[in-house]
Amino acid sequence: MNELAERLARRYDAEGWHEQRKDLASISIPALRVRDVLAWLRDEEGYKHLSFITAIDNIERGVFTLTYTVRNHDTKHSLMVHADIIRENPVVDSVHLLWEQAWTYQRELKEWFGIDCPGSPRKDEEFVLEGWDQLPMMRRDFDSLAYSNATYAERPGRVTHDPAAYMKAQLYPEADQ
């Protein structure tokens, strides 16, 4: 498989080949070449099956890392192709022309992360949400619990105690000073 890594590196400046298992590897490519790489992988290297597309919010680095997982059923090998795009105004090429289901993933990316794939069909329609007016919820700076607490009423009357603090209050309250 290392030949593939080399070819990818030569043709598309790919780097960081990592062999996770004997049937799974990952590699990073420049975001601008996503469509080229995937088309090449699909047509030339036999990675015909797109398992899924997703993104990781690497908020510390200020990027979304896209993951396209493709599979070559003949060699029984899966490849995770990573591409970093900046978090502000994230845009990436659409691959809906390569795979028919890709537009759904891209619609999901748009709704869940705010990642735009120009040209992808129905990308601006709501996917799973309805009337969502917050940050895209899969971004790490969206706090699910805080939103839930603020929006959905909880049944009152719950109270809990920390064993250590409770024992301290019960057994040696004088130590608290």
């Binding site: 996770q20 298992r21 799974l24 047509d43 990781i56 993951t67 059923h73």
Partner: protein
């Protein structure tokens, strides 16, 4: 150009019926509709009895699992994952556990491998039994669903006995499984397998040798073989088109390399073929369960040691673990940043492609009466689409 080998039909290349013309009728099938699988909906535009346009609408079951998982520790996610696909939770458990074990470098004991295989096959059978009722029911055959739901219930009894849960088994825990089989369990399993097999024989006679069923299902929802890669179709839907792909064979995970089976492959690729193929896979499941019972080691530990669940830190890394579920490739993509909580967990459910892009494409031109049957024949579970 090799790229042209696949003629391209853009997904949005759809008829644009003028809804105001009075010629068309806009109809929503679901979510409150008995002919829909689970809680989702189809926005159908029909002309007479023929569907001219379809949009899949999901999100009625969206609970934000992937976000919730980022909030919970590695072990706390274990009870959560099984809820992603309600009728078939075990595959979630397996994929998550396997991904976690791979990232942490934990080797699970032999016994756990077999018990996992066993419970996955049992789950597959239960899931298919649920499907077969749905398939018959979607064409209005109410008798089959009555039988098969009971058969499924017998299988769920087995799960209850083994795991303590009927629907959510939470048995395949990271590190192994949660318990050994109880005394006399396999005897019970074999009895139930006999009952199920006998009933499957009846169902085959009634459902698959049925003029009306054939009339309805044959030719319905034909998936051309060249769509398989283009649409990312996996599992029985792909195999029915003659593509021999089964992750159990291809990936050789768990104890599958030691089991004797051949993927069932069809050719006609219509609803009936898919139904027939699934029936054969049910028989195959029963056979695999029996093989598991024979080959399973009798003794030995069933769980490897794992770190303290409250403070389990997983080394940074990422992996994608896939398994062949009843609907196709079920996968968990897990990313760890080295902390006590996952960085990202993405779930790849086969219904994602089957119920959205494939369904929208296939349903065009189909009689409105066949929409439910077509949907069921793709065997989709909405919760795994929206997670």
């Amino acid at each position: 150009m090799k790229r042209d080998r696949m003629p391209y039909i853009p997904p949005a290349e759809r008829a644009t019926p003028d809804l105001d013309s009075g010629k068309y009728l806009l109809m929503w099938q679901g979510p409150q509709h008995p002919g829909i699988t689970g809680n989702m909906s189809l926005r159908l535009v029909i002309e007479g009895d023929t569907v001219v346009d379809c949009e899949t609408h999901v999100g009625y079951l969206h609970r934000g699992f992937e976000k919730l998982m980022e909030r919970r520790s590695w072990m706390q996610n274990f009870p959560l994952v099984c809820r992603i696909a309600v009728p078939e939770p075990d595959f979630n458990e397996y994929c998550y556990a396997a991904a976690l074990e791979e990232l942490s470098g934990i080797q699970i004991p032999e016994k756990a491998v077999w018990l996992r295989t066993f419970s996955l096959e049992l789950m597959r059978l239960a899931s298919y039994l649920m499907w077969i009722g749905g398939q018959a029911g979607s064409f209005g055959h109410g008798t089959i669903i009555q039988w098969s739901a009971t058969m499924r219930d017998y299988v769920l009894d087995l799960f209850e006995e083994l795991t303590g849960g009927r629907i959510y088994h939470m048995y395949i825990i990271p590190g192994g499984v949660r318990g050994d089989v109880p005394a006399g369990y396999f005897k019970h399993v074999l009895e139930v397998m006999d009952t199920v097999q006998k009933n499957l024989d009846d169902i085959e006679l009634v459902m698959y040798h049925n003029a009306v069923f054939k009339l309805r299902a044959e030719g319905l929802g034909y998936i051309p073989p060249d769509w398989i890669d283009r649409y990312g179709i996996t599992g029985p839907n792909a195999r029915a088109a003659g593509i021999k792909r089964d992750l159990r064979k291809d990936l050789g995970y768990l104890a599958y390399p030691q089991l004797e089976f051949q993927p069932v492959v069809g050719s006609k690729s219509d609803a009936f073929e898919r139904a027939r193929l699934r029936l054969q896979e049910m028989y195959q499941c029963i056979d695999l369960i029996r093989q598991c019972i024979d080959l399973m080691p009798k003794e030995g530990p069933f769980r490897a040691k794992t770190p303290n669940p409250l403070y389990w830190k997983v080394p940074a890394g990422e992996t994608y673990v896939a398994a062949e579920c009843t609907r196709g490739e079920y996968g968990f993509y897990v990313v760890s940043d080295g902390s006590e909580k996952p960085r990202r967990v993405a779930v790849r459910g086969p219904s994602y492609t089957h119920a959205v892009s494939v369904m929208e494409r296939l349903v065009r031109g189909v009689n409105i009466a066949d929409v439910a049957g077509l949907m069921v024949s793709l065997h989709t579970y909405p919760p795994e689409i929206e997670r």
